[in-house]
């Protein structure tokens, strides 16, 4: 299980970097959000994948460490906000020039 999730992180980073290196703004934004997903999955992995749901009274011990999930929640909110900002910025560049391609015309 751990190896499969580690592989998933690798695939997310690879696709993120590939998209980020492209010319289109839209692709770059998607690439950046894939990179932040990779970081979030990696944090999940740092707690280990064993244990039960960390809700008191719901499941017997041992529980999974709940702290990384709280960290991920914060990181997701931040990356959501920044992605929204990037989309707005990209839209503004589109309005300026009428094309979201990253050309130096």
């Amino acid at each position: 299980m751990g190896a499969a999730v580690a592989l998933l992180v690798g695939v997310l980073v690879a696709s993120g970097v590939y998209l980020l290196l492209g010319r289109s703004l839209m692709r770059q934004i998607i690439g950046l959000s894939l990179l932040s997903h990779a970081a979030n999955v990696f944090i999940l992995l740092s707690a280990g994948l064993r244990g039960n749901v960390p809700v008191l009274g719901e499941a017997p011990a041992p529980y999974t460490d709940p702290l990384p999930q709280a960290l991920i929640l914060t990181a997701i909110v931040i990356s959501f906000g920044v992605t929204a900002f990037l989309l707005a910025l990209g839209y503004r560049m589109h309005l300026f020039e009428g094309g979201a391609d990253d050309d130096d015309r």
Partner: protein, 485 residues
């Protein structure tokens, strides 16, 4: 009551600007906006001054948010280092805001973004928890994205997009490093990490250290991660650029100082001095190749960061103290220079040296302010820059690294050369350009006066920097106060 207020003091430089920013978003009238923005900056400056007074003898003042004891809760820690950084951040925030108001470049959004940025910067200095440091960085960065893109043209929006993308990648490195650190040690509180890292497995700790270095290094613009800075800092108006150029990279430098002394001591030995040498040299060479005032100054930010990293790389208390002294001196001088560049741009609509000339004849005070700051940047006595470099050179010789001292002296000479290039291009020569109004010159003049005063009373600031460096090179008191109070 008074004891409770003193205990809550370390949170004030974060809470005051945040509350001010939210009030500003509610949309008061222009006059009230200015008063509110200035009031927020003045109150956080006062709180910062009180913090410096309360920590000047080496006291460590922690706050455990929500009453959860460390390492379970989120800890804010004010020690001499954090207090000094908060003081300088609030000071520059206020002076650059005065300039922005003087240049009539302020509106509701600029004021609100300004306070959010100040809150994020102060937060990054005061936090005692590595994940919380990430959150502080993001608050600061989102505010900086906003200020950078507010009212820009398409070309500027493109540069800003690059800036945001690079910072997002740096944030991803940060998150990976946080995850590795947590899996290796089971904690994210810096003081708790200082206890646990020595016993943790070597490989993940080393990997986390490298990732932290990349994350902070991109933000601090060290060699070889500085390529984004000159483009990004040429976008905004000078008031905002002075705030950015003085402080944003220095938050990265501060994080390097904090994390690579308290949490991961000795993990980057041997690398840091090379990084420092490369940063100093390439920054100043880049500056020599430019012919626009603001671009020259942007490259100098990079070069000067090299000196700070040199202090960290020397790893002795004197070296770290010298590095911190350099940070404090540099923030004042660099912001002053950018504000002078801004005053020229506002009056002449250009910062290109080939279109300027003769400013010294009609703008005597501006020339004097520029000269004071430029000589201080190059390290000419009796300004603060001389003492900052003196400390670093002494620390370098004591540590047995004469080559880095040689590099730093060479870079000083080149710095002086490129400052003379601005002076001869813009201030000497033919032409009788119009006079810059006093409201644009006064903020930079205040900063020039500070660098002169700090130089004349260098002993006082050295004492504070030395106390701050003591918390970093020997963190035992910091660790025990945070964990057991």
């Amino acid at each position: 009551m008074i004891a409770e207020m003193v205990a809550a003091l370390p949170a004030a430089p974060i809470v005051v600007p945040l509350v001010t920013a939210i009030l500003l978003l509610a949309g008061p009238r222009p006059r009230a906006q200015r008063l509110l923005g200035l009031a927020g900056s003045v109150v956080s400056l006062a709180a910062a001054a009180a913090l410096v007074a309360a920590t000047r003898r080496g006291e460590v003042l922690p706050i455990q948010a929500g009453g959860w004891p460390a390492p379970y809760g989120i800890t804010l820690v004010a020690d001499a280092l954090a207090a000094l950084m908060v003081l300088i951040a609030s000071l520059i925030g206020l002076v650059a805001l005065l300039y922005t108001i003087g240049a009539r470049r302020d509106d509701r959004f600029v004021h609100a973004g300004w306070q959010f940025l100040l809150a994020g910067i102060n937060w990054a200095f005061l936090t005692g928890d590595i994940f919380n440091l990430y959150v502080a960085y993001e608050v600061m960065l989102v505010a900086s994205y906003f200020l950078l893109t507010h009212g820009t043209s398409r070309a500027q929006a493109r540069e800003a997009f690059t800036y945001v993308a690079i910072n997002l990648v740096a944030s991803m490195f940060f998150l990976f490093a946080v995850a590795l650190t947590y899996s290796a040690t089971g904690t994210l509180n810096m003081a708790h990490l200082a206890e646990r890292v020595p016993a943790a497995p070597v490989a993940p700790v080393r990997a986390a250290a490298v990732l932290f270095f990349l994350a902070f290094g991109i933000k601090a613009a060290v060699f070889p991660l500085f390529f984004w800075l000159p483009h990004a800092y040429a976008i905004p108006r000078a008031g905002i650029a002075a705030f950015f150029g003085g402080l944003l990279t220095k938050v990265g430098v501060y994080s390097l100082f904090r994390v690579f002394t308290v949490v991961f001591p000795g993990q980057l030995d041997g690398v840091l001095l090379w990084v420092a040498a490369g940063t100093m040299l390439l920054g100043v060479l880049g500056a020599l190749a430019q012919d626009d005032i603001r671009r020259i100054l942007s490259f100098h930010i990079i070069s000067q960061v090299g000196y700070m990293v040199m202090g960290l790389g020397l790893a002795s208390q004197l070296g770290v103290a010298g590095g911190l002294f350099y940070v404090l001196h540099h923030i004042v001088v660099k912001s002053g220079l950018i504000l002078v560049g801004g005053a020229i741009e506002e009056t002449h609509r250009t910062g290109r040296l080939d279109r300027l000339g003769g400013l010294a004849r009609t703008n005597g005070p501006l020339a004097l302010v520029f000269l004071l700051c430029a000589l201080s940047l190059a390290g000419v006595p009796p300004m603060s820059g001389f003492f900052a470099k003196l400390l670093l050179i002494r620390a370098g010789l004591e540590a047995g690294q004469p080559w880095i001292v040689a590099v730093s002296v060479l870079v000083s000479v080149l710095t002086l050369l490129s400052m003379l290039k601005i002076y001869s291009g813009a201030f000497w020569g033919a032409g009788s350009p119009p006079r810059a109004p006093a409201r644009l010159v006064a903020p930079a003049a205040a900063l020039a006066a500070i660098t002169l005063l700090v130089g004349l009373g260098a002993q006082g600031l050295y004492g504070l920097a030395s106390t701050a460096a003591g918390h970093l090179t020997a963190p035992a008191a910091y660790v025990s106060t945070v964990l057991r109070k």
